[in-house]
């Protein structure tokens, strides 16, 4: 099937829809004093489908998962977070999570689109030769999407904590989920993210262990560090060492570190030969 428009047009459309969801949610919250609920979910779903089309076109053009440069990594991370939100949001009905997800997704996708250099530089064909490394990369970036959602539930936890401690419960604070629900959700997301990233590292290790593979040590180190940090964080939480507000802050730091580490795990770094990013239709 041939889709109209190029991949970037679809991705712009997706970013626009996420932004529309965020704006619509803001209007509902600040003007009407209540979350938009279904409308935000619908806009996010439309954005998700547009992003799926864009990433699908790109994937078809590159012959694998579109994770070949910083632009694609950020897009794929946002897409992963939205995938999870669509499941988690519908299952657990966490109020305001859609609003925050729309905010995060619009920021990440718009920023990646606004810097053409992220997508215009040399692009390495890392996939198509080895299914293990392709699975490794896809799982690793998907786990970053899980961490994105973890960051949102942690942020919501901090807001709810602030509202309860400062005894300001009116306005849109009243739409935040309970502090215990947010804490449980964060623990589950952290466990899921750590497990997926851990599995991704294990899959990658199969590839790295092969004698003909030239391993980018910086990339391996960063990925293993992020995975290790996630496991340590989970362990500290489960053992009752890191709790409540400090746990939420640590989760935010973990996500920030994971996001920043994308720069180092960008496939094009320290590799060659390179080829420019394709424009797919």
């Amino acid at each position: 099937m041939t889709l109209p428009f190029t991949d970037r047009v679809w991705l712009w459309l997706a970013a626009g829809l996420y932004l529309a969801g965020f704006i619509q949610g803001s209007i509902a919250l600040f003007r009407r004093g209540r979350p938009a609920g279904g409308a935000t979910y619908a806009l996010i779903l439309l954005g998700y489908l547009a992003q799926l089309a864009g990433l699908g076109l790109r994937g078809r053009a590159v012959g694998g998962c579109p994770l070949g440069n910083a632009f694609e990594l950020y897009q794929f991370t946002a897409w992963s977070a939205i995938t999870l939100y669509l499941v988690v949001g519908a299952t657990f009905r966490l109020s305001l999570l859609g609003y925050f997800t729309a905010c995060l997704a619009s920021v990440v996708t718009l920023v990646s689109l606004l810097f053409p250099s992220w997508d215009a530089g040399p692009r390495v064909r890392i996939f198509g030769h080895n299914p293990w490394i392709e699975l490794h990369a896809a799982l690793a970036v998907f786990s970053y999407g899980v961490f994105a959602l973890l960051a949102l539930t942690s942020l919501m936890f901090l807001l709810r904590h602030f509202s309860l401690k400062s005894k300001r419960l009116g306005g849109w604070f009243s739409f935040l989920p309970s502090i215990r629900d947010l804490d449980h959700m964060s623990v589950r997301l952290l466990a899921a993210g750590a497990a997926i990233l851990g599995f991704a590292v294990a899959v990658g290790a199969v590839h790295w262990a092969r004698p003909e593979t030239v391993v980018n040590m910086e990339k391996v180190l960063v990925t293993v560090t992020v995975a290790g940090a996630a496991f340590v964080l989970l362990l500290l939480r489960l053992r009752g060492v890191l709790l409540a507000r400090r746990f939420a802050v640590a989760c935010l730091v973990l996500y920030a570190a994971a996001l920043l580490s994308l720069v180092t795990v960008e496939p094009g770094r320290g590799r060659g030969p390179a080829r420019p990013a394709p424009t797919a239709r």
Partner: protein, 366 residues
């Protein structure tokens, strides 16, 4: 030639003091008898009786304006109430104004506790009873059904139902923001007085299943525990067993602190991952205020709860105008739809009274 009209007459909490409302309240037998009497009233085409602790209202479609007075007269005779005195308190609205009143009542805009939703159910019951008895017709059927729809719209488009306005319910709502559902929350009530009991009942009404009562007088604690279907705990064990509970309601008349910081800190050390919600309703305070600084501990005292209740009340009041505007708009549209039928009630050739009703019960008085 007379023209038909839609009316609501009655007495509500706005103008009628409680002593008078007590005398006007219909008991179940009286209500049935009155409805049978109204059903045989010439010129009364349709009617519904709404009786709660805050209002007694008669909605009707009549062939002429005098019928509403006859309804009032029949009611006063049954209650042995002087018609002149009834006239002093009487609510009397006609046509579109009556419809607007119906929508406002259904939406909780006319309630003593603004935005309460219990009235919606009571109105539905009253309408269902009247409909089952054959006392309603095309006008009231449409009016009530549309009023229920409009009320839902008022509630969803405004914030008149958000935020609790009583101290006990504020405490329960706060517990919800900490624990989500209350079914697995373990609650300790310290003090067996009226305030604590009221709060405990509020928790139970929201699904709290595990309640323990401790009082300085063990027999009083056991007595209240029996009443509430809870268990009792010796007061001296309150500190050592604090870690077992998620919510602690303190409402004793003790002159000093009964839950010191050290006790709360020790309890939290044994259950660090579970939040602890402390509600101090006592004066002087029962809980050391510095425990609020502890991680995962949330302390609210009487002033905090009262302030939140007052803020919620003010927020609801602020939404009233918006709610009334929606109600007015809906009532005007509804009046357009039924005006011709109402007018037709005055010229209808079927002047017979409504057939006798089968025995049905009125909604329970509040």
């Amino acid at each position: 030639m007379s023209t038909g009209h839609l009316f609501v007459i009655g007495a509500t909490h706005h103008r009628t003091p409680i002593e008078v409302r007590e005398r006007l309240a219909l008991d179940a037998d009286g209500a049935v008898a009155l409805r049978d009497q109204l059903a045989s009233l010439p010129g009364l085409r349709e009617f519904t009786v709404v009786s709660t602790c805050n209002r007694i209202e008669f909605y009707g479609v009549a062939a002429n304006p005098a019928v509403a007075d006859e309804v009032g007269g029949a009611f006063c005779r049954r209650q042995n109430f002087a018609p002149d005195e009834f006239a002093r308190f009487r609510l009397d609205l006609r046509d579109a104004a009556a419809l607007q009143h119906l929508v406002e009542v259904a939406a909780g805009l006319d309630s003593q506790m603004l935005g309460e939703t219990e009235i919606f159910g009571q109105l539905k019951q009253a309408y269902a009873a009247a409909q089952a008895a054959g006392h309603t017709g095309p006008v009231l059927n449409r009016a009530f059904q549309k009023a229920f729809q409009a009320a839902k719209q008022v509630r969803t488009q405004t914030a008149i139902t958000t935020g609790q306005v009583s101290v006990a319910n504020v405490a329960v709502e706060l517990a919800g923001t900490i624990f989500g559902g209350l079914s697995d929350a373990r609650i300790l009530l310290l003090g067996a007085g009226e305030i604590g009991e009221k709060t405990a009942k509020a928790f139970q009404s929201r699904g709290a299943a595990s309640l323990t009562v401790a009082s300085r007088r063990l027999e009083r604690a056991m007595e209240l525990a029996t009443t509430l279907g809870a268990s009792a705990l010796p007061f001296e064990q309150r500190e050592s067993r604090l870690a077992e509970f998620d919510i602690v309601v303190c409402a004793t008349s003790a002159p000093d602190i009964i839950l010191p910081r050290a006790a709360v800190r020790a309890a939290m050390a044994r259950r660090p991952a579970r939040p602890l919600f402390l509600i101090d309703q006592a004066l002087p305070r029962d809980i050391d205020p510095t425990v609020a600084e502890l991680e995962n501990v949330f302390l609210y005292n009487l002033d905090d709860l009262a302030r939140i209740a007052e803020e919620n009340r003010a927020a609801r009041e602020a939404e009233t105008l918006k709610g009334r505007a929606i109600a007015g708009e809906k009532a005007r549209a509804l009046w357009q739809q039924v005006a011709a039928q109402v007018a037709g009630a005055g010229t209808s050739t079927t002047a017979e009274p409504i057939p006798p009703a089968s025995a049905t019960s009125l909604p329970e008085n509040r």
